[in-house]
């Protein structure tokens, strides 16, 4: 019977295409993400193997602890002593031994503006310029730095900053702004810069002094003499190494760096995959819907086949075969479209300053397998239930004249199952969010799915009254066309509900994320009001590492409009056997400007050997004031600190542990302020203080001076950036849902051909007919929106309640935003109806009436 299926599909190419399109989009997203991740992976693989091409062995400190979540994700280790270099040079077989280091360096272009956007993407880095084969850069102009104020920069920075050899500019480093002369410009392999990062390279001793610590390097790289293997050299070097240092081969370092980078990007991959799965889920709904309708429409045909001797199994497999074809078409198109998606995402990342000059897109076999599996799997799974229904059609159905689609409320069993699913979903969500459940995230996911499926199961029961209520004003507002639209939305609640379900998922998630974002913003605003008693905040804008040098805060202190200024620093440490972010503020001025709301102890107790713990963290790890806690720092190793304070407010610093600046400087080598908080002098207006601070800040391009409102706006903007990204990704699910509504309408119109012909004959104008279909579409869309918003509000409430102890304690329903969502969804219903309604209005009346 396969040939019949194929013939049937070919006869309905258009529908095959629109049905497949729903899954295509999901698959495209999935394969696009995969392709991009592979491409990024390969880019960085190449980057590291190039950078370390001539490194045979690297000597470095043993890792103190693994990467810091949400900050620097590579292993944390201290710096090695430069005095080790002559020792290593004496080891037999070592040809070259050279120290290497990375530090924050922000180069200014010829226009005085900072180059690069480290807060968004690729870092801005300073490093020593090597004159050995260890240097992965090649000069394209000028020469190596000959004096302390000369630097070599990468070609990308030179282009972006319009800098050429001989120019003088400023670079912002830990030691404060430095005047430098561009001695040379270098390229990195075939690229202008490694991954779009900005590089400023000094003479080694200068790099140590300006970027890090004099006499220290991050690592020492070795080149072996000819004929000595990496492992051999590493073994020889180990013999002379002091305790706490290690020697690893170049191959191992390369592998490590590549793995760490891939891990850092795996978050991106997971994030995108979640949306691909949502898109596939919505696509699955649409396939289910389309197949359900076509099976109902083909009741007579299938009855006839059964009467002529086709077995149930044959009917079942003919429907499934159709799903297989849809799945294959969808996957094939999806994989092809995936390349487009990947290119688009790549362009987006380039917008963030992350340059992936790969030349070729990486298309792995696993991308193909996974995409086909997903596309085919979703199509078949969604078609199983309609196929079984088709197989159950009795031969006698061939004799029935009219197909009457089920229009009931749904059976009692169905209602029970739906309510049970809802109950399971809601309770597992609440348990996981509010209680103490292992694997909470997975349980929440299952709960979310169960809620969606529960509401979809109850859909046809809810649909009729919902259509009636939502459509109530239509007859009055839109006359006969409106009345008919409402009747049409009500005539097959099962179908209306099913097409609305797909949209419900998209809108539900949009509603949820909107509420979460609004609640986060109000919570952060409230926290800033509570805790920041200062007037101005200066943001270094340096990204994950680096910041503004400590001299900046000191200079602000001497400005007459400023009463005092105090810097905030961040770092990572292993505390109570967990790697955590720590913040540091001055014990006096810092806590005077940031009120962390002490619960136990206070700022006056904070000193060199103490630590403060956020209330929620203290509960989690069971710490109280007076406890001794083991803390591992990368620079100073294991230390024991005393808990001197428990604090109630983690905003605006957002770290669960705080140190006094004394303790920070005793344990960290870095001297960068990430933020500087300013209290204006008495009697000075905020505007005057702002102007005074900005004058000083003008010498530090790239940093931002904000007043309290600006600071709040910046926090809100960060939330909005994420929100915008999530909206864009969820738009995909909504587009698929709209395709689904369009498809349902087209199928319904096909079914109602004669009726439409009759309406046209007795005097319905084309415009009225279009209006009828349009409003039916709007009703379906509104139904999905209303259900989605109800679910979204519930999800939002549940998560905000669960996050109350994480500082998101203000549940906010952004009414205007949600109304906008509803209006957009209704308008989208109009768009979805455009094609079907146009086709319907062009119907030939006579043919339509004669239609069987």
């Amino acid at each position: 019977m396969l040939w019949m299926t194929l013939k049937g599909l070919l006869a309905r190419k258009r529908r095959l295409f629109t049905t497949a399109l729903a899954v295509t989009l999901g698959v495209a997203f999935m394969s696009g993400t995969q392709v991009l991740t592979d491409t990024i992976g390969k880019t960085f693989d190449n980057l590291f193997s190039d950078a370390l091409a001539n490194t045979d062995v690297q000597v470095r400190q043993v890792a103190a602890f693994e990467g810091v979540p949400g900050a620097d994700t590579s292993d944390q280790r201290g710096r090695v002593d430069a005095s080790l270099i002559p020792v290593l040079e004496n080891v037999k077989g070592v040809a070259v031994a050279e120290g290497d280091l990375f530090g924050y360096a922000r180069l200014l272009g010829s226009d005085g503006k900072a180059i690069g956007r480290p807060e968004m993407g690729a870092p801005t880095v300073g490093a020593p310029w090597s004159e050995t084969a260890l240097n992965p850069f090649q000069l394209v102009a000028g020469q190596a730095p000959r004096s302390d104020n000369e630097v070599v920069i990468d070609r990308r920075s030179a282009t972006d900053g319009k800098l050429k050899v001989g120019d003088t500019t400023t670079v912002l480093v830990q030691a404060g702004p430095q005047q430098v002369k561009i001695a040379g410009i270098a390229k990195y392999g075939t690229a202008d810069s490694p991954g779009g990062a900005s590089f400023t390279m000094f003479r080694p001793a200068v790099a140590q002094r300006l970027l890090a610590t004099p006499g220290k390097f991050d690592a020492i790289s070795l080149i072996a003499e000819d004929g000595i293997s990496q492992t051999e050299l590493a073994a020889r070097v180990r013999a002379v190494l002091p305790a706490g240092t290690e020697a690893v081969t170049g191959a191992e370092v390369t592998k490590e760096s590549q793995t760490a980078m891939r891990e850092a990007f795996s978050f991106f991959n997971t994030f995108m995959l979640v949306f691909a799965i949502i898109a596939l889920l919505v696509g699955g709904f649409m396939i289910f819907n389309t197949f359900s309708i076509t099976v109902a429409q083909r009741t007579r045909e299938n009855g006839l086949l059964r009467a002529l001797g086709a077995s149930r199994r044959q009917v079942l497999s003919s429907v499934l075969a159709e799903a297989v074809v849809v799945g294959i078409v969808a996957s094939a198109l999806g994989i092809a479209a995936g390349v487009v998606v990947a290119t688009g995402l790549q362009a987006m990342l380039r917008g963030f300053g992350l340059d992936l000059q790969t030349g070729s897109v990486v298309f792995s076999a696993s991308t193909v397998y996974v995409s086909v599996l997903a596309g085919l799997g979703v199509s078949i799974l969604a078609a199983v239930s309609p196929a079984r229904k088709a197989a159950k059609i009795p031969p006698i159905a061939a004799m029935h004249a009219e197909v009457t689609g089920s229009s009931g409320y749904g059976s009692k069993e169905r209602i029970i199952v739906g309510i049970a699913l809802l109950a399971v979903g809601v309770s597992s969500m609440l348990f996981a969010l509010l209680g103490d459940v292992p694997n909470a995230l997975a349980v929440v996911g299952v709960g979310v799915l169960a809620v969606f499926f529960g509401v979809s199961t109850l859909g046809r029961t809810i649909s009729l009254p919902l259509s009636r209520v939502l459509g109530a004003p239509l007859p009055r507002v839109r006359g006969a066309a409106g009345a008919l639209a409402r009747e049409n939305a009500m005539r097959n609640p099962k179908r209306t509900a099913a097409s609305a379900s797909a949209l419900m998922i998209g809108v539900g998630l949009v509603g949820f994320i909107t509420i979460l974002a609004a609640s986060t913003k109000t919570s952060i605003n409230a926290a800033i009001d509570r805790s920041v008693t200062g007037d101005l905040v200066v943001n270094a804008g340096s990204g994950f590492f680096g910041g503004v040098d400590a001299g900046f805060a000191e200079r602000l202190d001497s400005v007459p409009e400023v009463e005092f200024a105090t810097g905030v620093r961040f770092g990572g440490a292993k505390i109570a056997d967990k790697v955590e972010r720590v913040g540091a503020v001055d014990a006096k001025s810092g806590f005077a400007i940031i009120d962390v709301q002490p619960v136990q102890g206070g700022p006056q107790d904070m000193g060199r050997d103490t630590i403060a713990v956020w209330e929620e963290k203290a509960k989690e790890v069971n710490l109280k004031v007076g406890d001794q806690v083991k803390v591992v720092f990368k620079d100073t190793g294991e230390q024991v600190l005393r808990v001197a304070m428990i604090f109630g407010e983690d905003q605006p610093l957002t770290t669960p542990y705080l140190l006094s600046m004394d303790a920070y400087e005793a344990n960290f080598l870095d001297r960068y302020d990430a933020q500087v908080y300013v209290k204006k002098a008495p009697g000075v207006t905020t505007a005057a203080a702002l102007a005074a601070v900005e004058k000083v800040a003008a010498e530090y391009p790239g940093i931002k001076v904000l007043d309290q409102e600006g600071f709040k706006a910046q926090a809100a903007q960060q939330v909005d950036t994420v929100l915008g990204l999530v909206y864009a990704l969820l738009a995909l699910a909504i587009i698929i849902a709209l395709l689904g509504i369009g498809n349902t309408l087209a199928l319904s119109i096909f079914e109602r051909t004669r009726e439409l012909g009759l309406l046209r004959a007795v005097g319905m104008t084309r415009a009225q007919l279009r209006k009828t279909i349009r409003w039916e579409s709007v009703l379906i869309a509104l139904q999905g929106t209303v259900l989605g918003l109800v679910i979204g509000v519930f999800f939002g409430w549940a998560l905000v309640t669960a996050l109350a102890d994480q500082g998101i304690d203000r549940f906010t329903i952004p009414v205007v935003s949600l109304l906008v969502v509803a209006v957009i969804a209704a308008f989208a219903g109009v768009v979805a109806a455009a094609a079907p309604s146009r086709r319907a209005s062009k119907l030939n009346i006579l043919k339509a009436i004669a239609n069987q």
Partner: protein, 253 residues
């Protein structure tokens, strides 16, 4: 055979619809079919006309072209004084809505609407209420007063066609076109519907044009036009079933 003008030319005001050399050609060249070949007919007001003829004689095409459902290749068709060839789709639609009534063989009613809503559908589409007293009269004549709140699926075939007749009458159109209105009914229900249509002509002065191939149905008309090969070939006034049968038999010769 020469074309015959069916009736003596009546004054324009008493003609509900007419055609002038109406020609309809389907296809082109070799496959060209002349469904109507220069038909000029008039349908006087208050008259019940039946159109008969063998399959392919063009009777349905003629009906569709005068009713504004199809367009002529050449010639003219007038309904209520309007030249259909000068009207665009929208104007044609409004003409059908306001000036023409329709009764089809089957599938006359919108399934989502009740009988009452179906009857007033053209007026609702026009955004008008309609003449309530008149509609009540029509409903009473058609004997469907107790079925008004039912949907089509809950009505018998005969009842559905009576609702369709009521809808056609409700707007007091200039003319009603009926295409095999009893084709799907058993003889008793068919006779009932035809009797109602007859009453509409006699008691309400309605003009009806009906296409049928059933001599009994045709015998309810005031006159019969016979079509063959796209031309009017004969006319019969005050027909009876027997005479019609006799005449139809001659087409077979």
């Amino acid at each position: 055979m020469a074309e015959r003008v069916a009736t003596a030319v009546a004054p324009a005001s008493t003609v509900a619809a007419r055609t002038l050399a109406a020609t309809k050609i389907y296809g082109k060249g070799q496959t060209e079919v002349r469904a109507l070949d220069g038909v000029s007919v008039e349908f006087p007001q208050g008259q019940f006309t039946a159109i008969m003829g063998p399959s392919g004689s063009g009777k349905s095409t003629l009906l569709n072209c005068i009713a504004g459902l199809d367009t002529l290749t050449s010639g003219q068709a007038f309904v209520a004084g309007a030249d259909l060839s000068t009207l665009n789709d929208n104007q044609l639609t409004i003409l059908r809505r306001d000036r023409v009534g329709f009764i089809f063989q089957a599938y006359n009613l919108v399934p989502t609407l009740t009988a009452r809503e179906n009857i007033t559908l053209p007026m609702t589409l026009a955004g008008r209420k309609g003449d309530k007293a008149w509609i009540d009269t029509v409903v009473e004549v058609m004997k469907i007063g107790d079925r008004l709140n039912h949907r089509p699926a809950e009505l018998s075939g005969g009842q559905q066609q009576r609702v369709a007749v009521a809808r056609a009458l409700a707007g007091r159109p200039a003319i009603i076109f009926a295409d095999e209105p009893t084709g799907n009914l058993d003889s008793r229900a068919g006779a009932e519907v035809l009797a109602f249509m007859r009453r509409a002509v006699e008691d309400m002065g309605q003009t009806i044009v009906m296409v049928t191939h059933d001599p009994t149905a045709a015998s309810y008309a005031d006159r019969i036009l016979f079509l063959a090969d796209g031309r009017v070939v004969d006319e019969m006034l005050e027909p009876t079933a027997e005479r019609v049968l006799e005449r139809m038999k001659r087409f077979g010769e």
